[in-house]
């Protein structure tokens, strides 16, 4: 199911771990699947001097975490901020269609860690909620967890017609859209 490169990053993930007193920390949870990721960064000269991650998630989520941290390491913050979900998936040589959303985790957590660093530097108060809390109530309404990355197109799994990504029912055929399509 996964390519060799994905499997390699999954079986031998780079940059696993925590940074004890990080300059920035990003925690995200994926509302589609409940997977979670934390990214820690050390910043030096406006570049990412060190980066580590911890991930609770599927094979793709772990591979994505490994890849995104590899890509970020050493990069100036501004450039790291530009790493997109698509870049990560591409660097991994592609992901199965139903796992494309996993790449969101990686870039989102990285950007959040950088933002956290910038916020702290600017003296803003740190974010309160963490991913775990955010996800806690989620399974109560599984029918509404139909989430897509911004800009990602969503097709009704029944009639294959493009539908607004937040629709619980297909606007064309009326079929309920399963969250995991």
């Amino acid at each position: 199911m996964y390519s060799e490169l994905v499997k390699d990053h999954f079986m031998h993930p780079r940059n696993v771990g925590e940074i004890p007193e990080p300059d920035g920390k990003g925690e995200v949870g994926n509302p589609v699947c409940g997977d979670m990721m934390t990214v820690y960064i050390k910043v030096k000269d406006d570049a990412i001097a060190d980066v580590k991650f911890k991930t609770f998630g599927c094979g793709a989520a772990i591979a994505v975490s490994s890849m995104v941290t590899e890509m970020a390491k050493g990069k100036p913050l501004a450039e790291a901020m530009k790493i997109s979900n698509r870049d990560v998936a591409q660097a991994l040589g592609g992901l199965p269609k139903n796992k494309l959303h996993c790449s969101n985790l990686g870039a989102d957590a990285l950007h959040m860690a950088i933002q956290d660093y910038l916020d702290r530097k600017a003296g803003k108060p740190p974010k309160e909620k963490n991913a775990e809390q955010e996800l806690a109530g989620m399974h109560l309404e599984p029918g509404h967890a139909h989430a897509h990355a911004k800009g990602e197109k969503c097709y009704c799994p029944y009639c294959d017609i493009e539908v607004p990504s937040e629709a619980p029912f297909c606007t064309n055929c009326g079929q309920e859209i399963p969250p995991e399509h």
């Binding site: 199911m1 029944y158 009639c159 294959d160 055929c173 009326g174 399963p178």
Partner: protein, 386 residues
């Protein structure tokens, strides 16, 4: 002695390569293609290979192929699935009155659930006039379903023309191409339909394996709901052995299409001429040119079909009186009545369907054995005043 088999519409002998593909698969693999481990991966690879093979046969994209349990399910899925998906838009369906039971009875079931169906007349050759379809369309029409090739008389319907009319009105069009796919060239792009049904048992693949072609964007609910198989369109663990056979049969049919058509058409011509020369009072049914290459429908006056069929069977020759799935049925065929045959004449009809595995010698045996049987039955018939 092996019987002479002229009932290829009821099912075709598995070709050696299809047998090997199936036996080879089942001897080694049992995995579920949806499983995410190595045993599942093997099955999934076989599934996707078969999908490509079937797609190639009809000029479709692999993603547009939905595997299912055969022609009948494919037809039910197309018709019910499109009707349900558009119930709010309208509840009117257009069809012809010479469709296969799989279409007729599916529509009957929908009628009992408040769908309206317009069933159009055909001419004496079994041809539907596209203009009639255009006239029958209303604002409520959500589906047009017309068969590509009739399985009792072989007539080929003007599906491409009807599909154009349908497309102009943005109405999904389905065609039951079960009797045609694998037997003659069929290209979904040329036809322009949204949905097309096919079955493996028509081209030397196994019974119980078929597919529905679904053009992207066609509104369609599942007939069989459940797991996420077949892109959420058809749930249930796939019949892998059957699908492997279907794929292999599709590949062979595509590769050998021209020679197969030439061969069956020659048999058809030979038998048609032979019948007309040797048996008095016969009618050959269907369109003389726009017809399946492998089918002969012959009505033998004054006698009944089943008794002819059984007497031929005693001589080692297998033919049909009508499609196998209606073999238990007793009433005269609705197709034959629709093209204007008398009730009694309709009852005296045999359907022969050839494959490239049949020989001219076999056809000769049939032509030799039939006349005395016809004579015997006529001598018993109260209708025969000869």
């Amino acid at each position: 002695m092996a019987p002479i088999y002229f009932d290829n519409l009821a099912g075709t002998p598995l070709l050696p390569a299809v047998q090997e593909a199936m036996s080879g698969y089942l001897a080694q693999h049992w995995g579920n293609p949806s499983s995410q481990h190595q045993v599942g991966d093997v099955a999934n690879a076989a599934l996707e290979k078969a999908r490509e093979q079937v797609a190639a046969l009809i000029g479709a994209e692999p993603r547009e192929i939905v595997f299912c349990s055969g022609g009948t399910e494919s037809i039910n899925h197309a018709i019910k699935g499109v009707a349900w998906a558009q119930a709010k838009k309208g509840r009117h369906i257009i069809t012809s009155n010479i469709e296969h039971n799989a279409v007729l009875r599916t529509l009957r079931a929908l009628k009992l659930q408040d769908w309206r169906v317009t069933s159009l007349d055909v001419d004496q050759h079994g041809l539907l006039d596209p203009a009639k379809v255009a006239e029958a369309i209303t604002d409520q029409t959500v589906l047009i379903t017309v068969m590509l090739a009739n399985n009792e008389i072989g007539t080929l319907e003007p599906v491409a023309e009807i599909a154009q009319i349908a497309a102009a009105r943005k109405i999904p069009m389905h065609t039951d191409a079960v009797a045609a796919v694998g037997v003659m060239p069929v290209e979904v792009k040329d036809l322009g339909v949204s949905l097309l049904s096919l079955a493996a048992n028509q081209f030397h693949g196994p019974a119980g394996a078929g597919a529905l072609y679904v053009k992207r964007g066609t509104p369609l609910w599942p007939l069989v709901d459940g797991g996420v198989q077949e892109h959420n369109k058809r749930a249930g663990s796939q019949n892998m052995v059957g699908i492997v056979g279907l794929g292999q049969a599709a590949e062979l049919a595509l590769a050998e299409m021209d020679s197969r058509v030439a061969r069956t058409r020659a048999l058809k011509d030979f038998v048609t001429q032979g019948l007309q020369a040797r048996v008095p009072h016969v009618t050959i049914n269907g369109h003389p040119e726009l017809c399946l290459p492998h089918l002969v429908s012959v009505s033998v006056g004054y006698i009944e079909g089943e008794s002819m069929m059984i007497m031929l069977d005693e001589e080692g020759i297998c033919v049909a009186t009508r499609s196998a799935c209606a073999a238990g049925a007793l009433q005269a065929s609705h197709v034959l009545l629709s093209i204007g045959l008398d009730f009694a004449v309709a009852q005296g009809t045999l359907v022969l369907s050839f494959s490239h595995l049949n020989t001219k010698q076999e056809a000769q045996v049939f032509l030799d054995k039939l006349p005395p049987i016809v004579e015997r039955l006529r001598s018993m018939s109260p209708l025969w005043k000869g």
